[in-house]
Symmetry: D2
């Protein structure tokens, strides 16, 4: 690091595509939004930070795009932490309960001890009621028809009206706000400032854009990813789509089978699977095995034939 004391004055790094939408809310759900309040850094800052680590040594992988992809692929996460974004979010408390589990972020939430609760709860249209998934204990799949849905929506309106009425009555009578709120529905909207670095934001998005995440939080995550991060750090975003969102991991044993299958060694693969305990029969029928089932799904996606 020669000339280390000969620094020039810096200008803040700004990203025009993001500055253009600063403060403008993106609508999410029936009455929620996400908007960017401010940010620090960009794709360029990732490179800048990596170059501090690598010193002069970095010339070989010196093209910015290649470097960012390399860093993301090899989980060199610290340069991504050098970018920070502050969002203003309006979200039902129910989804916020999931959101807040991500601990590496800064939060200021609207206080219903200090102020009156926001007068809005998430509503569901008749065609938006989701059925319990049978495969996935924690998911949903498919929608009710609108006729049944209409009744559900009517019940929802009834319960929203009643809980708000009782809340208002308590407040009017002078009950402490911290206690009056206790029976508001989980669907009540809250607001928060949420500040996070790009590495932790991408980790949040990887978990929350995933198909098993709950629809509500998935809509916030997709909006943040596609409308905000893509504008803010387009190269990092592209790498994230390539190496995280759309990648797949194969376990040690899956790699062993994959190698056999790709080389046409079907019998050997089958024996391995038997030895590994994946192919058990009960009354001549293959019993369910989750690890095997996940592997089969991967092979189907790769259009590789399964030998059992």
């Amino acid at each position: 690091m020669e000339n280390e004391n000969k620094f020039e004055k810096l200008e803040p790094i700004r990203v025009k595509a993001l500055d253009d939408i600063l403060g403008i809310p993106f609508k999410v759900l029936d009455d929620g939004f996400v908007r960017v309040v401010d940010y620090l850094g960009s794709d360029q800052s990732i490179v800048q930070a990596a170059r501090v680590s690598y010193g002069k040594g970095t010339k070989q992988i010196s093209q910015d795009r290649g470097l960012i992809r390399y860093l993301l692929r090899h989980r060199h996460t610290t340069p991504f932490e050098m970018c920070e974004i502050k969002l203003h979010i309006r979200i039902p408390m129910d989804a916020w309960r999931q959101w807040i589990r991500h601990r590496t972020a800064n939060v200021n939430e609207y206080s219903t001890r200090y102020s009156l609760a926001i007068e809005s709860a998430q509503t569901t249209n008749p065609d938006q009621w989701r059925m319990q998934s049978t495969d996935n204990k924690q998911g949903s799949s498919g929608f009710f028809d609108s006729e049944i849905g209409s009744e559900m929506t009517a019940d929802e309106k009834f319960i929203h009206d009643k809980t708000r009425e009782i809340y208002n009555k308590r407040v009017a009578q002078g009950v402490a706000r911290e206690q009056a709120r206790k029976d508001l529905p989980l669907s009540t909207y809250t607001e928060a400032y949420w500040k996070i670095d790009l590495h932790n934001l991408l980790h949040f998005l990887e978990l929350r854009m995933e198909k098993n995440a709950q629809l509500e939080i998935r809509e916030y995550a997709s909006t943040i990813g596609n409308e905000i991060v893509k504008r803010w750090a387009p190269i990092a975003w592209e790498a994230f789509e390539e190496y995280a969102l759309n990648s797949k991991e194969f376990s040690r044993f899956e790699l062993e089978l994959l190698s056999l299958l790709a080389n046409g060694k079907f019998e050997e693969a089958k024996s391995s699977a038997i030895n590994y305990g994946w192919l058990n029969y009960k009354n001549d029928e293959l019993t369910f095995n989750m690890e095997r089932w996940e592997f089969e799904n991967k092979m189907n996606d790769l259009k590789i034939q399964i030998p059992w």
Copy 2:
């Protein structure tokens, strides 16, 4: 550190007073509890960790109690991080929303996506309805009389029954649990395993045993402090009461005034307060100044006369 390779086999550090209550729930609120699942370390571990840092140098302050008090008083927090406790908590979601804001802890919460919501919501007796505080925008003060309270309790029961009825109906019709729960009241009980180190636990207790904390979370915090930490690490707990729970901080200017007042220099103190902007009049009346008001409270507690 001589003989550093001549270590003897260790036994786990156990605290009899805590082992005696392992797994036994302490009741909190109408239907909540806290119980200790397991723990690591004790007062003795704090000393053990401090002695690694200090090496041979520690002999001077070598009595355990003195050392623990010294560490706590001077915010040498890392030895307290060497103790860890795992609690099982049952708590209304509303209070849990505050709790979870403490980020330096490990959490596994009961999932109402995966399982049916716990069939219990926090109820309020007729004499437990609290009035909005007028001094403290986010607090409560005083209780409603039972007559008014009875009506409030009846409304509460109505809303609990209705929301549960609609929840049950949705589940029975096959609505996904993750969506069915959306209109449950914030008072619905949840459960969690919560694991935290002693330093961060004391920080939590300092904030949540404080008189301005909401009553509900304060009851959990007091139970954890007085029933659990006191048994687990009695010396650290005693020091915490002395140096954190019952201590007071004086600002630079407060120290200046305190010195003048303790030396009988009342006029000088008054002039200083005027110069500092604490004594402004409007229509011959002293206007409210929060910093001055907080100082006055401290002086009252010390029984020191205020010269204005």
Copy 3:
């Protein structure tokens, strides 16, 4: 969660295989060690914590081994955070500088402000001097022969003796320890208590047992993994080896190529690679492309033929 108030008294969870070695140091490098001071939890605690989240819903995946493997594979990391371990480590400061970058841990390090520096620095045998790797800018590969090595080892001894002599001289003259230490070599040993949860420990091991990690820290990591975690939580360890240590990730584009190659569509795969920018020629020679090279390595491991 029926019967939630009918808890029985708990006994602490202890793991005999780990209790048997509590406090016993495992030697690492020439004069370092790792030993377990205490711990909280086990494989069983992972299951216990997961079951709080899943409530009654968990019966389907209820076998412990299957559940732990499922959790690890799907990065449900919070149950692993419910186990905690406290290690006592003796390590050269140089390796400790890398170690301490893992932030989610508790640390008490030996203080050379407070006490005299430990009188030991890491020494290198004549056959242990490593050559700079040419592929890997930050790695080593191969060893010098012992003849050259002997001279290097002699220089090392000279510098250790000299730096210690000057340190001792400063201390004897009364220089403050905090300043006297300033020219000790980075190879000087330090000691620390280090406490971390199992999830973060596995993450540490994944990064530090990896072949590109520096040899010194890799030896500590391997000792912790193979001697300690394997005894402590054998099921989690087996899953970690299967799904983390020996797994491989394929990017979106790698999956596309893999599917083509496994189905014998070599020409199509080649065209895709050309379009993707992986096959550029300069003077009729394929230019180096790191992403392509990493893919080729994966295909070689799977014994899949590369079509260019």
Copy 4:
């Protein structure tokens, strides 16, 4: 929160006084520096975040300065987390070892595995050699005279030259950089990008500007405080000086004594101190008691007479 969807486009918050020095290094020690690379937020952002929490309720304490002082005084720390700063630091590894113990920050450090070690080590002028403090086991007090100092400085130069010579020789022979560096002195300079939020930065400054902190890190901390934070967030800085840097905490028992002393009840205070165990005699001489001694120091600062 009415009109919550009627947001106007925002401009990034910039602070002219800080923009004016962006990228300009402040020299620290003989060859170190700190410079601001970029930042997010300002005093205004603290207020903005607090107002999200307080909603409409905030009007009462609505003047910005009063609000910031209130937040800092009552440890409402989350609004301060909404400001973030990224610094570029050049610092001896010895001081960096202390620095890095602050875990809530993002770091990219210059890698001496990847690149050649920076060719500079911290040097000490003949008049800068500090004597070991006798009161404070971990501190220094007073300087050696220049004659003795000159010899120490000569030894320092010798050891710097020798260690660098051996480092260069190893590198020239092809030793891996990760191993070649092992005997460089702790005084060798390193560089890093360090990004942290304002709350955690103030906490760092409170610990590291303190008179017991080691001189080297104290100089960095003072520079960051007085040259950078003061420009960046002048109101928060002023409050920090008032409520943190120059405040004092009194324990429960100290408050009890203080009240007695300020009211002239000297005998009572003395009895209390006896009962509390502060006044023990050995051969007619008061034995040293650290808690008492710290209290006496506070009383001396307040010019309050001690009654024993």
